[in-house]
C-alpha cells in the first residue's frame, strides 16, 4: 500500500513539478540571461548582419537540447524520488522492502512512468523556448538582462502550470 501511495504522489505530479522547477533554475534562467546578454551587446545583431538567422543558430539547438535532457532528468529524478520514498517508508513504517516495491509495481504498471517522461519532454521544450524568447526580447543594458530573466521565469512558471493542466486530461484520454 505504502509503495502505491508513494508512487502515485511522486511519479505523476511531485517529481515532474520539482524537475520542472529545477529546469527553470538551471536551464531556463541560464538561457534567458545568456541570450539577453547577447542581445544587449549586439551579438544577435552581429549574427544577422553576417547572414546567420539567430533562430536556427541560437534558439533551435537550445530547444532541441532541452527536449532531450528533459526526460533524462525526469528519469533520474524518478529513480531518486523512488529510492527516497523507499528509504522513508522502511525507516518510518512497518513496511518491508518487498511490500514497498510490490505497491510501487501495482500502481505503476506502464503508464505513469511514460506520463512523467512526456512531462519531461514538454516542460523541457517549453522552458527553453520561453527562456530564448525572454532573452531575445531583452533591451536596455544589464538592467534589461535582469528584467529579461525575471520575465522569463514568470513565463516559464506560467507555461509549466498551463501545460501541466492540459497534459493530465490529454494523457488520460490517450490512455483510455
Amino acid at each position: 500500500m505504502i509503495g502505491s501511495i508513494v508512487a502515485s504522489s511522486l511519479v505523476t505530479e511531485v517529481t515532474p513539478l520539482f524537475v520542472g522547477l529545477s529546469m527553470i533554475g538551471m536551464i531556463g534562467t541560464r538561457i534567458a540571461a545568456e541570450l539577453g546578454s547577447m542581445q544587449i551587446t549586439e551579438q544577435v545583431d552581429a549574427l544577422e548582419v553576417i547572414g546567420r538567422d539567430p533562430i536556427p543558430y541560437l534558439v533551435v539547438p537550445r530547444v532541441l537540447a532541452a527536449l532531450v535532457i528533459g526526460p533524462l532528468l525526469m528519469a533520474l529524478a524518478l529513480v531518486a524520488s523512488m529510492l527516497a520514498g523507499w528509504l522513508g517508508a522502511i525507516a518510518t513504517t512497518h513496511a518491508t522492502t518487498s511490500d514497498f516495491w510490490f505497491g510501487v509495481r501495482y500502481y505503476m504498471r506502464d503508464f505513469p512512468m511514460f506520463f512523467a517522461l512526456i512531462k519531461g519532454v514538454v516542460f523541457g521544450g517549453a522552458i527553453a523556448f520561453v527562456g530564448c524568447y525572454a532573452g531575445l526580447e531583452a533591451t536596455g543594458g544589464s538592467v534589461g538582462v535582469g528584467r529579461a530573466v525575471k520575465r522569463g521565469v514568470v513565463g516559464m512558471l506560467c507555461s509549466m502550470v498551463v501545460l501541466d493542466t492540459l497534459i493530465a486530461p490529454l494523457l488520460k484520454i490517450i490512455r483510455i
Binding site: 546578454s37 547577447m38 551587446t41 549586439e42 551579438q43 545583431d45 552581429a46 549574427l47 544577422e48 548582419v49 553576417i50 547572414g51 546567420r52 538567422d53 536596455g140
Partner: protein, 261 residues
C-alpha cells in the same frame, strides 16, 4: 551608393523625423551629432536591423526595407558592419568568429583557403595569428575592435558601416583605424559611413560630414565647410558657439530624443 529617403522612426520617442541622405559610391561619410540623436539607429536602418515607421533605404538601388529575409541576406553579403563594442560572439574563438562570417559551403569546400582568408583579414587589421584561438574575453578592447573590423572586411564588402570605430582606442590605434578605413576605400572602393564623435577623425578621414540634429540632417558638407559654417548648431557641436541664445531645435532635442536602441 546609399540613398535614404524621408526616414521616420519612433522608439520611446521620435528619433528620426524625415532623414534624407545620399552617399556616393566610394565616399567616406562621417555621421556626427550629439549622443542620443539616433546616429546608430540610422546606421542600423541602412543594414536593415531596424524597420522604419516610414521612408526607404536603398543600397545600390535595392530597397533594404522592402527586401525579404533572403534578399536582405544577399544585400548584406556585400556590406560590413563594425559594431561599437565589436559584438564578437563570447563563446567562440577569434577564428570561429571570423569563420562564421564566411559562407558555410565555402568553409566545407575549402577549409585551407578559408583559414588563409581569416589570417589575411587579421593581418589587415594588424593582428597576428596568435590571437586566433583566443576568446574575445581574453583580448584587449582595441584588439576586440580590430577583430570586429576584420570580421566586417572578410567578405570584401562594397559598403562598410562603422559605429564609433575609434571610441575607446588609444591614439596610436585611432591613427591605425583611420588609415585602415581609408585604405578599405582606396583598395576596394568601399562606400563608408562612419559614426564618430572624434572631430580629429572626421577632419582627417571624411569626404563629407553630415550632422544629425533633432531627428533630421541639419548640415551636410565637406569637413572644411563643417568647420567654417556659421550654422549655430554645427558651431555648438564643434565647440565654436559663444552665443547664449538657445537653438530652437535644442529645446525639442532636450525634451524628446533619447535614442538608446
Amino acid at each position: 551608393m546609399i540613398s535614404i529617403t524621408n526616414l521616420h522612426k519612433k522608439l520611446a520617442a521620435p528619433v528620426l523625423r524625415g532623414v534624407n541622405l545620399e552617399i556616393e559610391r566610394g565616399e567616406i561619410m562621417a555621421l556626427v551629432g550629439a549622443s542620443g540623436t539616433g546616429k546608430s539607429v540610422l546606421l542600423k536602418h541602412i543594414i536593415g536591423l531596424i524597420e522604419p515607421d516610414s521612408g526607404d533605404v536603398l543600397v545600390n538601388g535595392r530597397s533594404v526595407i522592402q527586401a525579404s529575409w533572403r534578399e536582405l541576406s544577399e544585400i548584406r553579403r556585400g556590406m560590413g558592419y563594425v559594431f561599437q563594442d565589436a559584438a564578437l560572439l563570447d563563446s567562440l574563438s577569434v577564428r570561429d568568429n571570423l569563420r562564421l562570417a564566411i559562407d558555410i559551403t565555402e568553409c566545407r569546400r575549402d577549409p585551407a583557403a578559408v583559414e588563409k582568408r581569416i589570417v589575411a583579414a587579421l593581418s589587415a587589421v594588424n593582428l597576428d595569428e596568435r590571437v586566433l584561438d583566443r576568446l574575445p574575453g581574453e583580448l584587449s578592447g582595441g584588439m576586440r575592435k580590430r577583430t570586429g573590423v576584420a570580421r566586417a572586411l572578410i567578405n570584401d564588402p562594397h559598403v562598410i558601416l562603422y559605429d564609433e570605430p575609434t571610441t575607446g582606442l588609444d591614439p596610436g590605434n585611432v591613427i591605425s583605424m583611420n588609415s585602415l578605413i581609408r585604405s578599405n576605400r582606396d583598395r576596394y572602393g568601399a562606400t563608408s559611413v562612419v559614426v564618430t564623435h572624434d572631430i580629429a577623425t572626421l577632419a582627417d578621414l571624411a569626404d563629407r560630414v553630415a550632422l544629425l540634429h533633432a531627428g533630421r540632417i541639419r548640415f551636410i558638407g565637406t569637413p572644411a565647410e563643417f568647420f567654417s559654417t556659421t550654422d549655430p548648431v554645427v558651431a555648438a557641436y564643434t565647440g565654436r558657439n559663444d552665443s547664449d541664445t538657445p537653438i530652437e531645435e535644442d529645446v525639442w532635442q532636450a525634451t524628446h530624443v533619447v535614442a538608446t536602441y
